[in-house]
Amino acid sequence: MDRIATVVLTLIAALIIGTLIGLLGFILTQGWHKLNLDFLTSPPDIVNAGGGIGPQLFNSFYLLVLTMLIALPLGIGAGIYMAEYAPDNKFTQFIRMSIEVLSSLPSIVVGLFGLLVFVNMTGWGYTLFSGALALTVFNLPLLVRVTEDALRNVPRSQKEASLALGITKWRTIVSVILPAALPGILTGAILASGRVFGEAAALLFTAGMSSPNLNFADFSLNSPTSPLNPFRPAETLAVHIWKVNSEGLTPDARDVADGAAAVLIIAVLLFNLSARWFGTWVYKKMTSGSN
């Protein structure tokens, strides 16, 4: 019986690893030949072959930055509240349930909500900013959860040591608890970044499916062709893959999609690996005697 269980469980583990390696291998081998500087930097072509993914790649990173600028303060703030201030009562349970429901919403539903609120009601149209807000809704539960868990994992003795010195609760949180929880929070933030980077459904109707011809010499925040303008439509890499695959007109549409998929998967992998590496690095940095 024990032997059978061991064999079955090992097979399941092998199946998981096999699927992952197969998937990665397939996507990477399919897209490998497209990975060159020209493909990564040039704009897409609507009719002819040879278009690149430059603006989409830029949009993905810019959207990531915008989303994190909004989502991180909200998520960390809410996490601090849940871990340190929320009293143990019905209301707190209600908040916790709301966070759970929010985290289980399908991303296409979040996208449609974004279309309704951040695109139509605000009158902005398809913009980067609408996309960032939709992705904030999408990632907030994860960030709150990660922050709360990281704060709760800080030993109680650390908190008491500071309180016993006559330090206020808030300053104890800022100078002892948050630094100790930082590696965990960072890991969560980087994992959330991976989700933002790879998200398509929530962006179709918020950040839009087109990108203006970006002028990378124009840094004004309100020019329609400026890459930094947050109130312009911005098709991201993941959305581009979906669009090229479903309605691409160019003869090399399949090639472009393969290449973009490879770039996307490499980026998401990098986020995940760097999350682990960065978390341990920060932890070491924080705990050794830096001054």
């Binding site: 009293p87 143990d88 030993p155 003795s157 650390q158 008491e160 040591a161 500071s162 309180l163 016993a164 010195l165 006559g166 330090i167 206020t168 300053r171 100078s175 002892v176 100790a180 924080m286 705990t287 050794s288 005697g289 830096s290 001054n291």
Partner: protein, 250 residues
């Protein structure tokens, strides 16, 4: 005049009463030991003296606790000022994951001291007072977590001293340490007594007998007997005290 004066103190966790009618006075520059079996309320009592029980939900307190003649549970008392004046050392050494230097300066810096020279001075004085200076003076920038358990506990004492308290509460400070480290801390307490008033919880009766001036024996949330330490150990009035110190239970 007594430094700490407790009258008719009752403490409840929800519906469960943890302390019953405690009356106790602590004299300046003395060591008062709180002894008793596990769960007798001695640590709970210690934590009422600097209001560390505040953060435990559903705690209710009746009676009066006065420190330097001020009722510390009156609504006008600022709990941060109270705790600055009453330092605490815990059962397990709990240095911050920072350097030795930063551990000692943590309190003073957060209370607004920015002067580099003054901070250096505080570090040296506090570490000397905690009998740790000679061992760490060349590695002040090294992480505190690299120190031995006994050194960490003396660092925690130095950290508490750095904010210049008048009273130091200690919650079984040597129970996690080896005998040599324990002896060092006991020796240290004798010296600290000249400057500070010390209240120490210990489940080690020999320790109480060795270092304390007065001993309080707690049992099931009651203060059974409180007297000069030699009296408690050689001539206790209460049968329960005698049973406990002769090892019949606990």
């Amino acid at each position: 005049m007594s430094v700490i004066s407790v009258r008719e103190l009752n403490l409840f966790y929800g519906n469960k009463q943890a302390l019953y009618h405690i009356n106790l006075d602590v004299e300046p520059n003395s060591i008062t030991a709180l002894i008793g079996p596990s769960g007798c309320g001695k640590s709970t009592f210690l934590r009422t003296l600097n209001r560390m029980n505040d953060s435990v939900p559903n705690t209710k307190i009746t009676g009066v606790v006065k420190v330097f003649d001020e009722d510390i549970y009156s609504s006008s008392v600022e709990v941060e000022r109270l705790r600055k004046n009453i330092g605490m050392v815990f059962q397990h050494p709990n240095p911050f994951p920072k350097s030795i230097y930063d551990n000692v300066t943590y309190g003073p810096r957060l209370h607004g001291m920015m002067d580099r020279h003054k901070l250096d001075e505080i570090v040296e004085n506090s570490l000397k007072a905690a009998a740790l200076w000679d061992e760490v003076k060349d590695v002040l920038k090294k992480p505190a977590t690299g120190l031995s358990g006994g050194q960490q506990q003396r660092l925690c004492i130095a950290r508490a001293l750095a904010v210049q308290p008048q009273v130091i509460l200690m919650d079984e400070p040597t129970s996690a340490l080896d005998p040599i480290s324990t002896a060092k801390i006991e020796e240290l307490l004798e010296e600290l007594k000249d400057t500070y008033t010390i209240v120490i919880v210990t489940h080690n009766m020999q320790q109480a007998a060795r270092i304390s001036d007065k001993t309080a024996f707690f049992l099931n949330g009651e203060l059974v007997e409180f007297d000069q330490t030699p009296t408690i150990f050689q001539n206790p009035r209460d049968k329960r005290t005698e049973d406990y110190i002769t090892g019949r239970f606990g």
